[in-house]
């Protein structure tokens, strides 16, 4: 009975944030399939440790666990990802056909590539703020950082994103000529 009730409570408080869990994992790991595995592991970990959650921001509580699982996974499977430098081409980038570069997708592809080239410790600021809509307080809780460092972290992350977008410009022009 206790278990059934705890499960129900978990399903009511934590499970609704499964999309947020997957989205954060997808952007930290830069791969949907890895994200699915790690998000699942994080959900089960959250379920096991659900007794440590009292009340309050369930999403932030869950995302903190997801983030820890992602960094553990990266540490074990792709330690190079954790070096704090721009990661241009560290993943085999798929060749894009001119069709795939159709206008509608062009901006999205550019942004995905630029965002993925940022070190995870900066990428996570943008994912949490711009995609997940977290407040500075929530970002501080999720990333275990002092709240005062969130503003400067976001400032640097946005600067890096802009630079990554600019770095793509020459390639884009060449592609435009080739088509």
């Amino acid at each position: 009975m206790l278990e059934a009730q705890e499960r129900e409570r978990f399903e009511a408080c934590v499970l609704p944030h499964l999309d947020a869990a997957f989205n954060l994992a997808r952007w930290l790991l830069r791969d949907r399939r890895d994200a699915e595995d790690v998000a699942q592991e994080a959900m089960l970990r959250a379920y096991r440790f659900f007794h440590t959650y009292r009340t309050g921001d369930a999403r932030a509580w869950l995302l903190q666990i997801v983030r820890n699982c992602c960094y553990d996974w990266l540490n074990k499977n792709r330690p190079a990802d954790l070096q704090d430098e721009l990661q241009e081409g560290s993943l085999p980038s798929k060749e894009l056909s001119p069709e795939a570069l159709a206008l509608a997708n062009q901006d999205r592809n550019r942004l995905v590539k630029a965002l993925e080239s940022l070190p995870p410790h900066f990428r996570e600021f943008l994912v949490l703020r711009e995609l997940e809509g977290c407040s500075y307080k929530e970002i501080a809780a999720i990333t275990s950082r002092p709240i005062g460092s969130v503003m400067s972290g976001l400032a640097r992350a946005r600067q890096q994103l802009r630079e990554a977008l600019l770095a793509q410009e020459p390639a884009r022009k060449e592609m435009g000529r080739a088509v």
């Binding site: 278990e3 499964l18 699942q40 959900m43 009292r54 999205r108 809509g133 500075y136 503003m151």
Partner: protein
Amino acid sequence: MPCDYVEERLHGYLDDELDAAGAAEFERHLKSCPECSAALSAERALRKSLAQAQLYELAPASLRSAVQARIGSASGKQTVTTMQPQINWKWLATAAILLLAISTALLTMAVLRMRGAAPEFAIAAVDAHLRSLQQGHLADVQSTDQHTVKPWFDGRVDFAPKVADFAGDGFPLLGGRLDVLNGRTVAALVYGRRKHIINVFAAPEGTASTRSGSGEIQGYRWLAWRAGGFDYVAVTDASAADLEELRSLFGKI
């Protein structure tokens, strides 16, 4: 490049995270600093393109069902292990009852506290939002066309709600329906946001006893405001920032 002094504050301002005094000070600075104004518009443009690119990726259905199955089986397994004979049943039963009592009390307190702090109309709006998510209750008129949704309300409510589609800003109109808040029939407009649903309840100013404010009830965010002769309450499981953005779009109708 923005000047050093404000470089970070600009981001706090952009994210609506400065206190009132800090924001006012920054706005004063903006007027005299063209570099900062330019930097701020650049940040806003970047944010807009991030929003329009729809980068949010939803969990695949396979993940959802896997998690649900594993949670189910995890508790099933534990039931099996408790069948082992060396377990002290008496102790276990006492512990279970105690834990049950404590967790029930905590949960009740938490729910009361969450609900107690929220105004009644917000609780009603969240309840209406939850009802609407049940199959087939979301919209009585399903259309992404504001010119179909708006006339649908004619003769159904005693006012003409403002209806607009914000698909270009990432908030596509999905439809409308009638709902009831505090005993008053209101127009409910349904918007999508990265596959999340936002219900916007609208009534003429002062008729639905709402009050401007925002908050969270059981994981759902609500935002209430007054604009152009109407009171609005928006409810969603998307983010608070999304609600703020939608409010500013309503302000421009």
